[in-house]
Amino acid sequence: MKENEPYNVKGEVGVSARESRSISFVVPSLKDPRIMIGAALTLWTVLGQTSYYFNRDAGDLTAAIGAACFLDLVLGVLLLRQISLPLSAYITGLSIAILLESDDSRVYVVAAVWGILSKYLLRGSRRHFFNPSNFAIVMALWLCHGRASVAPGSQWGADYRVAAVIIALGLLMMRRVKRLDLAFAWMGGYAFMGLVRMLLGQGGLVFALGPMTGAEFALFTFSMMPDPKASPPTSRGRVAWGLSIAVMDGVLRYWEIRYSMFYALFLHTALLPVLHWAAARAGVEEASPWRLWEIPFGRSPRAVALASSESSR
């Protein structure tokens, strides 16, 4: 068995199991950064249930994670001929369960289904372009007839030390997934737009920059926005992308439009296929940060192909 090599932007890798029509088993290696993201989200949820008061209903958590993982497994087998450990789906389901708020458990299931379906059905250049969690949340907000909202972003009990640790860990994760530039551009742009909104008379410093210490912002910044499949491949592109999202978010916030950052990211990612196409024409390539093992059934270990990363989030 061999761990996958960086693949080019077209997603063309060695002999994939899909091509041979045999089913393969795909698991992330321990170096896969999604393991860190998944672990961080899990720790986050455990802390929320025990120490900090943003506890979520266990039934809703189970519904969102269960629906996302189950659908991801089924679609992986049907469409990619892969039985993948649904790590990406777990992250998607958990993000949905943490961020969404509804008194109807079906909303969590439907949102998770939308998120996973977006990954398999809305694709350009052989890859999805919406972040599944972002897609799920925006769809739930738009289509659930007011039954869904985004949960109040807990500020970690107003303990700035916890917020500082979260931001530090988040930036470390961004370094691993090579999205530090994007995180800095977005956070810097957000802070600047917050100050501009203050200058225009929209609230004090706590209102403008306080959300940056909250759970909602951290999840968005460190889990949703830096999705390698749903952000530009070049460093300059990512900086411009982060700043552009921040400007749009700031304008929407100034207009008192709720959930502005989710909408801003959604609208940006909707345009991503165009950017990917332009980048591909310019010959720009990006290595996948995902690290996977692919184990085909019924074939000798020698014949193991490099994983295609098709099942990444």
Partner: protein
């Protein structure tokens, strides 16, 4: 191109960028401050803000309301140990009122009035009397309702009470504390009789008294009155058109409640629950002013201030309101809160408990 590290760029651009950001931050902070709250006068004292020793108030309130059965000591009618305690008549009055029968209630209220007259500026005493009358009137209305009485007539000891008593007290002792109790007595009336024809004039009476009180020099930052007037504005139906509407700016509740929050932050008095309650009320007031994002920010501050389950639930409810329904949902929530008469919103005990 591979990788995500930040490349160096020209240092001069970084310096210019940071200077620009710093200047923007300075200008923004100078304009709005931390929380966009009114500036508290530097010479404002705890006493002039009406936030005196909360611990002493809490102890007196506990003594009056949650005492063990004092009729053991009442058996020796002139027990000197009991009579030494400030507020003993109040405590006995409460106990009398809790006995069955009109005579004991009359005697109890008489004792309480004597106590309030002896210290008219004590907010705990005035509040206890008001709350006891409120309870008795509410029980009377309930019993009349269960008998099918459509136009109940209060017995003599409850008729026009506590308004009549506080009107008399204001005439004899026109202090800000007695005026506050009178204004709150009008709100009590409004809570007991939610019909618009009683609610509206009661609210107007209350606001008029509070406005006169707050416009007196030295009382501009009298927090209990500010909060009472702010709640009055907050609880007025937004879509109701009445003559006073023209006089009331849309952010009237914000202006009053924000002052309370600013004074509370300056002196750091009161429980976490009180601060969270104020923050929720300020958030609600921002909804009335049409500033939903500021409203949510204040609710979020409240969420961080107090972990009591009922407060957390009420914040979660507020967060689930979509923008297009937020005003209607808030008014439903406020309507509900006015019907919670076991703990009426006019009970000043919220301040010291």
């Amino acid at each position: 191109m591979v990788g995500g590290g930040l490349k160096g760029g020209r240092p001069i651009f970084w310096v210019i960028g940071l200077l620009f950001l710093g200047a923007t931050a300075f200008a923004a902070f100078s304009r709005m401050g931390l929380l966009d709250l009114p500036r508290v006068p530097s010479d404002l004292s705890v006493a002039s803000a009406g936030l005196p020793d909360m611990e002493a108030s809490r102890k007196l309130d506990d003594y009056i309301r949650h005492s063990p059965n004092i009729f053991v000591t009442m058996s020796s009618a002139l027990n000197h140990e009991v009579m030494k305690h400030p507020g003993w008549r109040m405590r006995h009055g409460v106990e009398f009122c809790r006995l069955r029968g009109e005579e004991s209630a009359m005697a109890g209220l008489q004792l309480m009035r004597e106590e309030v007259r002896s210290r008219p500026s004590d907010s705990v005493l005035g509040n206890s009397y008001r709350m006891e009358v409120f309870r008795l009137r509410r029980e009377f209305l309930k019993s009349m309702k269960s008998r099918g009485e459509l136009t109940p007539q209060f017995p003599i000891h409850l008729d026009r009470q506590p308004i009549a008593f506080f009107e008399e007290l204001v005439r004899d002792h026109p202090s800000r504390e007695t005026k506050l109790q009178l204004a709150l007595a009008w709100v009590d009336e409004m809570l007991l009789f939610p019909a618009l024809e009683i609610k509206a004039p009661s609210s107007v009476q209350s606001v008029d008294i509070l406005t006169e009180l707050l416009s007196t020099p030295g009382n501009e930052w009298y927090v209990p009155a500010l909060f009472a007037r702010g709640l009055n504005h907050l609880h007025r139906p937004s879509r109701l058109v009445w003559p006073e509407n023209a006089k009331t700016p849309v952010n009237a509740a914000v202006l009053d409640i924000a002052k309370c929050v600013a004074a509370g932050r300056k002196f750091g008095v009161g429980s976490e629950r009180l601060h969270a309650t104020l923050a929720i009320a300020l958030g609600d007031a921002y909804v009335k002013a049409g500033r939903n994002s500021s409203a949510r920010s204040w609710w979020q501050i409240a969420q961080n201030l107090c972990s009591d389950d009922d407060l957390q639930q009420s914040i979660r409810r507020r967060y689930s309101w979509p923008d297009e329904q937020i005003l209607d949902r808030l008014e439903e929530e406020l309507d509900r809160s006015r019907t919670e008469l076991d703990h009426p919103m006019t009970d000043l005990a919220l301040m010291w408990n």
